[in-house]
Assembly symmetry: C2
Homo-oligomer: 344 residues x 2
């Protein structure tokens, strides 16, 4: 007869899971709002549909942090990736005109680390508060043999709402419309497999080394939080000036801008209308990466692109508060064409 | 000068990602309904709040498949885990009275396998159709160094709706109420780390070997699809008889039933009111697992427990169609007490 097996002896600790859940309670309840009807621990999170939205349309998105997590592991800094995740999701529904209602996270670990889990969720909770979004629930999974010691995967799901007539779907776009860009805060949450290969393998740097060109450490540069555009965009949404918005994520400008353009129109981007931040130049040089590849993988300093009618361009630029610039225009055709040279 | 690096040379293939997305289009569009307003590829999925629900409350849940995935990997069978995921999520919101609206999945791989990804999503799509739930979007992440060859993690997120006055929240429960059980279809999606250790390590079985006691193979027994209780429960919800429902997942009866009981009441479960299916006996014997531990880790044949007033018990049993049984009652106290002996 074999020694008695237990769940714990095979790697899953239900008591640790319960303690972790308790440690997250305050982080979750900090994000409650007047429409949050459930407490942590319910099977499903309850959220009342806001009564002030006419013909409400729910807008939802699922996303992960990708291998940016590996930078968090390498630097032992776990409180920013949750912010990346929430902000990424907020932007993905903002581009259709929605404001966030609630968020759920999925955190999968090998062995549940009672130090790391609350750090990760602290970032999620902070960004939920900043974006006025209730952290309605989530799943913390213990999966031995799936993840290395101290490692985890992190994904999230957001639900927002927009009145049907306020939906931004690119329908009114036509050739001649102007394209405006908003700066990114860094790599955001994309291209990290290439960036890590360049920085850690080819350049041989560690998390605490200075990152050439940025005046900050490698960890500070690569963990720069994915920016939420909610506050800068929301006043403009109320004005009704915006015809389409694209969030520049994996695939860069050419992979994302066409997602919001109707058939028969394309985007002309003036490649030298801005200078990509130093982090991108360092990556291009460090990995000897072709400029076209750089623009296909990274956001290159452009986090969001908006389309407005030519007559609304000045008003929109003004309302965006000085950091936006005119990056191109809409023309006949399809996809994205770049004019001017890639500045690196 | 180093050879030029590309995203693809470091392990992320954007073209493969685009091909995979195209291969999923039909699976997603098969699940569309009259409230689905977006196409695959939009930044956020759009879903209209149904107009026929009074004071609509959204009920949402996030979940994963856990290490049941390892059984799918070992047997090369990838089309059932998506069903497990969706059905698990459907049950988690059903217990609060909600019907599903839409679902999003998160599928994370090391290298994107163009054979496996559509198989996984096929299961998600099938279960979405069965539960009348739109597959509104999802994320397929390529994360080199995170997952082994042919391996992946899979999580999901569901949103459902219930009229506020139809919410099931256990509020009316009082001592004397009856507890009814519905059978599970197998292990559902819980306890797989222990089950795998017993079956593959201690018993030394492979996926194609016969599983003692079930008359089926190890793969067939362990990949049995987590059952959705939507169809059997929904007619009963309309009757208003149900005071509370618990989905018996990780933590077993004692970990889940108290989640829906108000303070000051507990559950008395008659442990010998049913005979756990053979799969559980084989696991207990194969791992020499203590019966208490078995009941703490596995559902032991009970997938769902409902609470009804004593006068409604016969009606409820009848409407549940013959497979339900009386499993205990509500009493003063807290938590779960078992009476009778554990039949194994």
């Amino acid at each position: 007869m074999t020694d008695p097996l237990t769940y714990k002896s095979t790697g899953v600790d239900l008591d640790a899971a319960e303690r972790a859940k308790q440690s997250l309670k305050a982080l979750v309840s900090d994000t409650r709002d007047e429409n949050t009807l459930s407490e942590l621990g319910a099977f499903g999170g309850l959220y009342r549909v806001p009564a002030d939205v006419e013909e409400p349309v729910l807008v939802s998105s699922a996303d992960g942090v990708g291998t940016k997590l590996k930078v968090a592991f390498a630097s032992g800094r776990h409180h920013t990736v949750g912010q990346d995740l929430v902000n990424h999701c907020v932007n993905d529904i903002l581009v259709q005109g929605a404001r966030p209602l609630f968020f759920l996270d999925y955190l999968a670990t090998g062995k549940l680390d009672e130090g790391i889990v609350p750090e990760v969720v602290r970032g999620v909770s902070l960004a939920c508060r900043e974006n006025r979004c209730a952290l309605l629930g989530g799943e913390t999974a213990q999966m031995p043999d799936f993840y290395g010691e101290g490692e985890y995967d992190l994904a999230g799901f957001i639900v927002g709402v927009v009145a049907k007539k306020r939906l931004i779907d690119g329908a009114g776009i036509e050739p001649g419309d102007r394209l405006l860009a908003l700066p990114s805060s860094g790599l955001h949450t994309n291209g990290y497999t290439l960036a890590r290969a360049i920085v850690f393998e080819h350049m041989g740097l560690g998390p605490d080394d200075p990152f050439p060109g940025t005046g900050e450490s490698v960890a500070d540069t690569l963990l720069k939080v994915h920016r939420s555009y909610l506050r800068v965009i929301q006043p403009l949404l109320a004005s009704g000036l915006v015809k389409a918005i694209a969030h520049i994520t994996g695939g860069g400008i050419e992979g994302n801008l066409p997602r919001v353009l109707p058939a028969g129109v394309g985007a002309m981007i003036v490649a030298d209308s801005w200078e990509p931040p130093p982090v991108f130049r360092t990556l291009a040089e460090g990995g000897n990466v072709d400029p076209r590849e750089m623009f296909r993988v990274f956001n290159m300093g452009v986090g969001l692109i908006l389309a407005v009618a030519p007559g609304d361009e000045d008003t929109a630029l003004e309302r965006l508060g000085g950091e936006a610039w005119s990056v191109g225009h809409v023309g006949p055709g399809e996809g994205v064409e770049f004019s001017g040279s890639f500045r690196m």
